[in-house]
């Protein structure tokens, strides 16, 4: 059986059938309508539809639409995909050789530059060598501050003899002895200082769209040890922030000691470090004393070890040592993260208290803070003769060691690189570079996420503030990128610098992403829409649509007949 032929046959017969009764039966036909009534009716139907389409539909669209400010989506995606910025880090080096003529220095710098450029091609740092004045007086920096000053003591002063190199803690200068006068030797020294930085930056970029293949070469050459240490450093450190709140707390299981000379101790040990770090972040400091602090019931507690005569804290208990439920360590108010430093003074009956395996008295809780245990001397020692206040107050001398521990923990918690060990200034500069990069990367990914979100949720309203924030963020990102390439890392009076721009960009992007009016999207499910629209559109829409279709068909037939007739 052939289905197509039968269907055709049926269709033909059906058309015949409609015409048969009209002519065959003696049924009355309605009188033909006058053109005027037809026109009137069509005008009526047309005006109804005109109102529906011309007034109703725009009104409905207008009242139910959500306001979406236009966002520069393509630029945002460019940043997220790493196309908007080719990340390179300028590393200007100034060479100064007291006692040499300018020509000699230019020659040295020329050969240095050739050597460093040779292996710098696959690195992230762009070395540029400038010749400094031979004299001690500093020259005006034409290209921003040099990231490193190399001073070659060719004349050989008494303390810089031979093949030694020396870093000054407070300045970013490398002092070389007279034995290291060859360009190759100097380049090796510079490489030694900058390679941890290169590795750290490559580590940050790896896995992000900003990682270019040539960096991959560098990464492949990296040894696994440095990667593991970078991993550890990264997991410990807090997320970059403009402000950190440092909270120092003394926890005591009993009544005593109930006071500590924390202000003196902070002034002696913390303030210099915080002043040095001022270029990276702002710090606020609060302190508190908490008595009657008990251990959490979830840990086993210290056990007495007969052999050593010490109370030992098992390693598994360290994570639960801080009794988060009872110890008031609430985060500080305001922007920024809180870094907690907890000093625990065990009860005389439980002293000395140490960590079981290592015998240490301090440990670091990643991205939270540091803990230190202070074991006071045996109560039988001269303590009895001391006055009452000595018993209740921890003196600044007691706190010396603790403060050093806390300072060490602080550098780890904010992610200060450990090398080059000699110079704090170089380490802070390296931290600035890493911070700026990390912030830039996180901002780029935030903007990418926002762009995807806007794309995915077509109903979400976008207020103008979001568009402004995104604009600000993009502008600062551009500046940050340029600053990195030009070597303007820290902020000056006229320029925010790479770090400042990256921070501003990050803040603006977070503000845009976490816009409250976008987060709280009204839940209006489709069932509700059906419940609202169907009662109105059903009974009203059906006659309208039917009348419209009928008139259209009638008009179409009329046209066809007209064509046939002609």
């Amino acid at each position: 059986m052939d289905p197509t032929s039968t269907e055709d046959g049926g269709g033909v017969s059906a058309v015949e059938g409609t015409e048969l009764p009209a002519s065959g039966n003696a049924k009355a036909t309605p009188p033909t309508e006058s053109a005027r009534t037809l026109l009137t009716r069509r005008t009526i139907v047309f005006s109804f539809w005109a109102i529906v389409l011309g007034l109703g539909l725009p009104h409905w669209l207008w009242t139910t639409s959500t306001y979406r400010a236009s966002l520069p989506l393509s630029t945002m995606n460019d940043w997220a995909e790493g196309k908007a910025c080719d990340l390179r880090f300028a590393f200007p080096i100034r060479v100064r050789v007291p006692g040499w003529t300018r020509e000699e220095m230019v020659e040295l710098s020329g050969s240095l530059s050739a050597l460093l450029d040779h292996d710098g091609s696959d690195g992230l740092l762009d070395f540029t060598i400038h010749v400094g004045n031979a004299d001690e007086e500093p020259i005006l920096p034409a290209h921003g501050d040099p990231a490193l000053t190399v001073v070659l003591h060719a004349a050989g002063s008494p303390d810089t003899n031979g093949v030694t190199s020396r870093l000054e803690p407070g300045e970013s200068a490398l002092h070389l002895g007279s034995g290291l006068r060859q360009a190759g030797e100097i380049a090796d020294q510079i490489r030694e200082i900058t390679s941890p930085q290169q590795e750290a930056l490559a580590y940050l970029l790896s896995g992000t769209p900003f990682a270019v293949t040539e960096h991959g070469v560098l990464r492949a050459t990296q040894n696994t040890w440095s990667e593991a240490s970078l991993d550890a450093r990264n997991t410990r450190a807090f997320k970059p922030s403009t402000t950190y709140h440092l909270s120092f707390s003394l926890f005591v299981p009993g009544n005593e000691p109930s006071a500590w000379a924390i202000e003196d101790a902070l002034a002696a040990y913390m303030t210099p470090l915080l002043d040095a770090l001022a270029g990276v972040s702002n710090f606020t400091v609060t302190t508190q004393v908490q008595l009657h602090a008990s251990f959490s019931p979830s840990i086993a507690g210290p056990t007495f070890d007969e052999a050593s005569g010490k109370w030992k804290l098992r390693k598994e208990d360290l994570s639960g040592f801080v009794n988060a439920a009872e110890w008031p360590l609430s985060p500080s108010i305001g922007e920024g993260s809180t870094i907690n430093f907890v000093l625990y003074v065990p009860a005389p009956g439980h002293s000395p208290l140490v960590v079981a395996d290592t015998g240490g008295t301090g440990w670091l809780v990643p991205q939270w803070g540091g803990v230190a245990i202070l074991n006071l001397d045996e109560p039988t020692t001269p303590r009895k003769s001391t006055t009452d206040t000595d018993r209740t107050t921890l003196s600044a001398a007691n706190l010396d060691e603790i403060m050093l521990t806390f300072a060490d923990q602080l550098t780890a918690l904010i992610g200060l690189p450990s090398s080059p060990a000699g110079s704090l200034a170089l380490r802070i500069a390296a931290l600035q570079r890493e911070r700026a990069t990390a912030l830039l990367l996180s901002t780029a990914s935030t903007l990418g996420a926002l762009s995807r979100l806007v794309h995915k949720l077509p109903n979400i309203p976008i207020p103008d503030t979001v568009a402004t924030s995104v604009g600000t963020s993009l502008r600062h990102l551009d500046h940050a990128c340029q600053d990195l390439r030009a070597g303007r890392y820290s902020n000056t009076d006229t320029n925010l610098g790479a770090l400042g721009n990256a921070q501003a960009a990050s803040e603006a992007s977070e503000k845009a992403f976490f816009e409250p009016s976008m987060v709280g999207q009204v839940y209006f499910p489709d069932e509700h829409k059906v419940a609202v629209y169907v009662p109105l559109l059903g009974p009203m829409g059906v006659p309208l649509v039917l009348a419209g279709v009928k008139e259209l068909l009638g008009w179409y037939r009329g046209m066809r007949e007209k064509v046939k007739r002609t």
């Binding site: 046959g9 015949e16 009188p31 909270s247 009544n255 109930s258 008031p328 108010i333 009974p539």
Partner: protein, 638 residues
């Protein structure tokens, strides 16, 4: 003038010599009539202002200190309260009602007024939001609609720099908030001994919130003493009234059960006393109780952490004849009253003893306990019926023989719209009922009308209540209709209206005699429930459907009238749709017929006779409707 200076001199000397300790705590116990016990805990800690500015904290809680600094708060008063103080039988309120709050949560604070009104509001919102997190309370719901700025009712308690200029008072209430254990735990965390030692070890959520009346307060204010640096002082108090018998239920069996018949104490003098009838005998004298039985635990250790804190920890206000025993460590001694006050016995907790307990035996005391009469009795009700309007009715009764000046403060939610022209204040003496009521003219009146969804009503009246008379304050109000989304989940419960706060001003020293009071005192009425018209919450959809149906009905008939063409019934042409439907039906019928025919053919093993019959049947309906394979086959065969 000279006399005043002479009197002032020792006071300054004392304050200069006796520096206030950095931390002190105190518990005051007083049995109330009908088997109740009042327990008032007070914890005071302080820090120097310079340490506060640099955020170094010792006994002052850091979490609160940070909030105050961040929000620019100069003085803070926070209250959590539950239950009702029965002034008829319990007398005047503890601490003159100054450390007491209205039901729910109440907060008022003086904030730095720098930066204009928006800056102050920003600070206020930051303060209530931070405190909300700290105390696990819904304080963050105190927004513009629940905030008022009272003028007369409150005065700063602290000594502020510049005479209190440059700061602004804001007051907020949450009458709906249910105070519970989750608010007490953070409260205890603020204390240096954290409820682990000293009198704070008695504070247990089960007992505190089982009380008939309970109020928790936190007050922070700057205090200055001559010759000393100003200090920031935090006073935390917990005042509770416990039902002694109820509190002494054994812990392992907390459910109240009927007593066995043998244990019932019956009044055998009654005529109807029998083996199956019992009229409970009235308890005679004072009940026996002890701290460990009432609070479930004795006082653990002591919390003497500050230098120079030599004061007593617990004081007990009982009749001089009452026997009081103190069990400290292993020793047991009788506590006798000190020289100066015969009714108060004081005890200092021992630093060495692990537990301290106070116990009192049952005793019959002849002397009636001394009770101070409250300055004023106040009650407030909502009158009227229906869902549209109502009225407020406050009764203030002055039992004293001298007139009293009071400040009456009401902060009403915006959906209660009072009509101030209906405000009537009438006074009539309590001694004789025949005298007509006389209107009282308020000395001062501050009124801020409500703005819908933005601001509540603030009404403050300065009144004088005549001696031994009752003043009735009434006004009418309208109940607003809320929006669909503004109703809470339990909309039919009603809406809480914050208690009225009444400040009784100290009488002018020269005007009245026979009254030593120089401090003002506060009292609060109970909170009210306002029933608002509550819709059926499926209403919007019902309304939509109903109106849509009506519109559709009207629209459909008018539209049809306009576009339909009217012809005679015979003239109606067969509609194309009907023809099409009939065609489809015929086709289906044909298919079915064909199938039937084929089955029959298959059974007979013959040709197409059945098919012809089936086609004939279909042909009767309409020629044009032949369709389907059966019909086509039949035609071919023919």
């Amino acid at each position: 003038m000279k006399l005043a200076q002479l009197l002032a001199l020792p006071a300054t000397l004392i304050s200069a010599v006796l520096a206030i300790p950095e931390y002190s705590e105190h518990l005051h116990l007083r049995p109330l009539p009908n088997g109740y016990l009042y327990a008032g805990f007070n914890f005071t800690a302080s820090t120097s202002l310079s340490a506060y500015e640099s955020q170094h904290f010792r006994y002052f809680p850091r979490s609160l200190g940070q909030i105050l600094k961040h929000s620019g708060t100069r003085e803070l008063h926070l209250r959590f309260a539950l239950g009702r103080w029965d002034d008829e039988s319990w007398g005047s309120r503890p601490r003159d009602g100054k450390r007491e709050g209205g039901t729910g949560v109440e907060i008022w604070a003086w904030l730095d007024s720098g930066g204009g009104k928006p800056a102050v509001e920003e600070r206020w919102s930051s303060l209530v939001n931070s405190l909300s997190g700290l105390f696990c309370a819904s304080l963050n719901f105190i927004d513009g609609t629940k905030t008022t700025r009272p003028v007369l009712s409150f005065e700063p308690e602290g000594m502020h720099r510049g005479g209190g200029g440059g700061m602004e008072l804001l007051h907020g209430t949450l009458p709906h908030e249910v105070v519970c254990t989750e608010n007490l735990t953070p409260f205890l965390k603020l204390l240096p001994c954290k409820g682990k030692a000293g009198i704070s070890s008695l504070l247990d959520g089960h007992k505190v919130f089982d009380a008939n009346w309970q109020t928790m307060s936190i007050d922070v204010r700057p205090v200055c003493h001559v010759g000393e640096e100003c200090r920031l002082e935090i006073q935390q108090t917990v005042d509770i009234v416990l039902d002694i018998e109820r509190s002494m239920r054994p812990r392992n069996d907390p459910i109240p059960r009927p007593r066995p018949v043998e244990e019932l104490e019956c009044d055998e003098s009654k005529s109807y006393h029998a083996s199956d009838t019992c009229y409970p005998r009235r308890k005679e004298g004072e009940m026996a109780w002890s701290l460990s039985k009432i609070f479930g635990t004795p006082v653990r250790g002591s919390c003497h952490v500050a230098d120079g804190d030599e004061s007593h920890d617990i004081s007990l206000e009982v009749s001089r004849d009452r026997a009081v025993e103190v069990l400290q460590g292993g020793s047991n001694e009788t506590l006798v009253s000190h020289g100066q006050s015969q009714h108060v016995r004081a005890i200092r907790l021992s630093d060495t003893a692990k537990h301290t307990d106070i116990s009192l035996p049952q005793q019959i005391i002849q002397e009636a306990p001394h009770q101070e009469q409250p300055p004023l009795y106040a009650s407030r009700q909502i009158t009227g019926f229906g869902q549209e309007r109502g009225g407020m009715h406050t009764v203030l009764h002055n039992p004293h023989t001298y007139p009293q000046r009071i400040v009456y403060l009401e902060s009403l939610p915006w959906f209660l719209r009072p009509y101030m022209h209906t405000l009537k204040v009438l006074s009539h003496p309590t001694t004789s009922h025949n005298q007509p009521a006389t209107p009282v003219k308020p000395d001062k009146m501050f009124y801020t009308p409500a703005l819908d969804r933005e601001r509540g009503t603030h009404l403050e009246l300065l009144l004088t209540i005549p001696a031994q008379s009752t003043v009735e304050l009434t006004y009418d109000f309208d109940k607003a209709i809320l929006r669909y989304t503004e109703y809470p989940p339990d909309a039919n419960r009603g809406f809480d209206v914050a208690p009225a706060i009444i400040r009784v001003l100290p009488p002018n020293s020269n005007s009245t005699a026979g009254n030593e009071k120089t401090q003002d005192s506060y009292l609060r009425t109970t909170s009210l429930l306002l029933p608002l018209p509550t819709p059926d919450f499926s209403m919007p959809y019902n309304v939509i459907i109903l109106t849509s149906t009506v519109i559709a009905l009207g629209f459909g008939s008018i539209f049809n009238l306009l576009v339909r063409r009217f012809v005679l019934a015979e003239e109606v042409p067969r509609s194309a749709v009907a023809v099409r439907v009939a065609w489809v039906v015929g086709k289906v019928r044909g298919v079915v017929g064909g199938l039937k025919g084929r089955m029959r053919v298959g059974g007979e093993g013959g040709g197409g006779g059945g098919t012809v019959v089936g086609f004939g049947g279909a042909a009767d309906v309409r020629g044009g409707m032949n369709g389907g394979s059966g019909g086509a086959e039949g035609r071919k065969e023919r």
